[in-house]
């Protein structure tokens, strides 16, 4: 058996995903979908950590990432009226259909490998994610904890359901915190760059957004630090990423302190 390191595994999965996403007509009209590399690293590290064979990696990684990309693609569907602008309408139409196509592919991959239980688990996670998205989008709650809970569901439910499937509680807790922090910091960065973020926008009348986000991040970093000291075997790339994430958090804290 050829043992690949995690760098090669992630690169290989990314390459395979790009092949799947490469529909010639769709790519003419919409932006090539962005692959969330942090999520990909987390999934590959997890599967590697529980000793899934290299040749079995794609049958879990590809469908989960395709679902993620499908949902992310549908987030890009614009709400503005298009009037008579055919090119904007076409871009919107293909964005809807590209997401539907990636969704179909996830189901296709799971059924091809006969993983019926995972179809159910993932479908349930997709339901939860969309319920949480609507709650966040509609700002149904004014409670910060509730908002964070919904945001956490949106960002982590897919990876959580994979951990549930393999009954790996420790990995589940770790990856949930990792993805939660990285997404929160990402939203904060987007907001600071003047890009839309409905989480941050919803938080704005709840107090100092930076403080709210950083207090959430702090709680999660404690868990991550604990796992970095624990017996759970983490590969080098994931360990590096976790330290970078913790440093990023410290950097953000310093910026607040200096401000």
């Amino acid at each position: 058996m050829i043992v690949q390191n995690i760098y090669d595994t992630v690169a290989n999965m990314k390459e395979q995903l790009q092949v799947e996403l490469n529909h010639p007509y769709v790519k003419q009209f919409i932006h090539h979908p962005i692959i969330d590399e942090n999520k990909l690293l987390c999934i590959c590290s997890f599967l590697n950590g529980i000793s899934i064979e290299e040749r079995e990696m794609p049958q879990y990684t590809l469908p989960i990432m395709l679902v993620q990309i499908a949902l992310d693609t549908h987030d890009l569907v614009s709400i503005q009226p298009v009037g008579n602008n055919e090119s904007i309408l076409k871009e919107r139409q293909l964005t809807v259909l590209a997401g539907d196509y990636y969704s179909g592919l996830y189901y296709y991959y799971f059924s091809k490998s006969g993983q019926l239980e995972l179809i159910k688990e993932v479908a349930s996670a997709i339901k939860d994610i969309n319920v949480s998205k609507i709650k966040l989008y509609q700002s149904h709650t004014t409670d910060v904890d509730d908002m964070m809970l919904n945001f956490r569901t949106v960002e982590t439910a897919l990876v959580q359901c994979l951990c549930n499937y393999f009954k790996q509680e420790e990995w589940k807790e770790l990856l949930q915190q990792v993805l939660f922090i990285s997404s929160l910091l990402n939203e904060l960065r987007r907001h600071e760059e003047g890009k839309p973020s409905f989480l941050i926008e919803a938080l704005q009348n709840k107090g100092n957004v930076h403080d709210i986000v950083m207090s959430q991040v702090k709680e999660s970093t404690i868990v991550i630090e604990r796992y970095l000291q624990s017996q759970l075997v983490l590969n080098d790339q994931l360990t590096d990423y976790l330290y970078k994430l913790l440093n990023k958090h410290k950097h953000c804290k310093n910026v607040v302190g200096e401000g």
């Binding site: 809807v96 997401g99 539907d100 969704s103 189901y107 019926l116 179809i119 159910k120 319920v131």
Partner: protein, 321 residues
């Protein structure tokens, strides 16, 4: 005979499916429930669940098992309608405001994704890998068909082959697998579920051709949208393809696609399509598919379901809305 009378012996089971459909969209998020029920209660023929149940009668029929397929297929159809309304920028469906019009595109996308996930959750109760492989392959084909439809919009250089390939993916495949999966869910033999797939495929093709004809021959009231709206959206359907054999008419369609005020032009176009023989020729193609569907039934064992399938095939060719 009315459509519902043809399968009256399934009334109890259809009522159960209706109840299951309503229950399946109950969530702790009122907006998703409201939006889904809004679409569900707007009606619809429920033709896919009916095909699933009828096909199920060719095996060891058990409603508690076959219901998962019937509900899943109707939910897939519903999810695609919600997203289709975003694609078509449509404000009305079956005469009622669409989800995207009542709320917005974002809510429509999330609701559609929710309903699609719910359908797979239901379908996952069927522990048969082949059934999932058939359905998932169909899902991919459906999306590719829709992408193809967008690609072909406003394209006058189409032929019969491209049209048939498009409607195969758009409509016929889902009806075909409704029949096939109903039979698989009740453990009917392979030869039976394959014949049922063929039956569904031919009926589905005829169904879509009839829909495309009705877009010109029905009233706005019956359609719940303006007459000729497919063509107004750039979709070249079979009656238009036949009528475009006349170069002067082809020029008119080209003009319609670029015109700012389309109302007067579309009326003229509809009048020509109706008088050109294009409707009759399209009906003829539909009839050929229906005849093939009826021929397939000869290979299936005799039972009440077979009789109902025969009557439905006859009905599809004659329906007025």
């Amino acid at each position: 005979m009315k459509l519902k009378m043809m399968y009256a012996f399934l009334n109890t089971d259809i009522a159960l499916i209706e109840k299951e459909l309503e229950q399946s969209v109950q969530t702790n998020e009122p907006l998703i429930t409201e939006a889904s029920l809004h679409l569900l209660q707007a009606g619809g023929k429920r033709i896919r669940p009916v095909f699933v149940l009828l096909a199920g009668k060719f095996g060891e029929y058990n409603i508690e098992r076959v219901k998962y397929v019937a509900v899943a297929l109707e939910l897939i159809h519903m999810a695609s309608l919600v997203h289709d309304d975003v694609i078509d920028d449509a404000d009305k469906r079956r005469g009622k405001p669409t989800i995207k019009a009542k709320w917005d595109n974002r809510i429509a996308m999330y609701t559609g994704d929710y309903i699609f996930a719910r359908s797979l959750e239901m379908m996952a109760n069927i522990k048969n890998v082949e059934a999932h492989q058939i359905l998932s392959n169909t899902m991919v084909q459906l999306s590719l068909g829709e992408i193809e439809q967008i690609k072909d919009k406003y394209n006058l250089d189409q032929n019969l082959r491209t049209y048939l390939r498009r409607i195969r993916r758009k409509t016929a495949l889902l009806i075909a697998v409704s029949c096939q999966l109903g039979a698989i869910a009740t453990d009917a033999s392979k030869s039976v579920h394959k014949e049922l797939y063929r039956f569904g495929y031919y009926v589905g093709m005829a169904f879509q051709i009839t829909d495309d004809i009705l877009d010109f021959t029905s009233s706005a009231e019956q359609l719940g949208k303006p007459v000729g709206s497919d063509l107004l959206q750039g979709n070249i359907t079979l009656p238009v393809l036949f009528a475009m054999e006349n170069p002067a008419f082809r020029d008119k369609v080209e003009l319609l696609f670029t015109a700012e005020h389309k109302e007067a032009l579309i009326e003229d176009i509809i009048t020509y399509i109706k008088s050109s023989g294009a409707i009759e020729r399209s009906l003829n193609v539909s009839d050929q598919y229906l005849q093939k569907a009826i021929d397939v039934l000869d290979h299936l064992p005799d039972n009440k379901a077979k009789k109902a399938l025969y009557q439905i095939a006859k009905f599809v060719g004659k329906r007025k809305f």
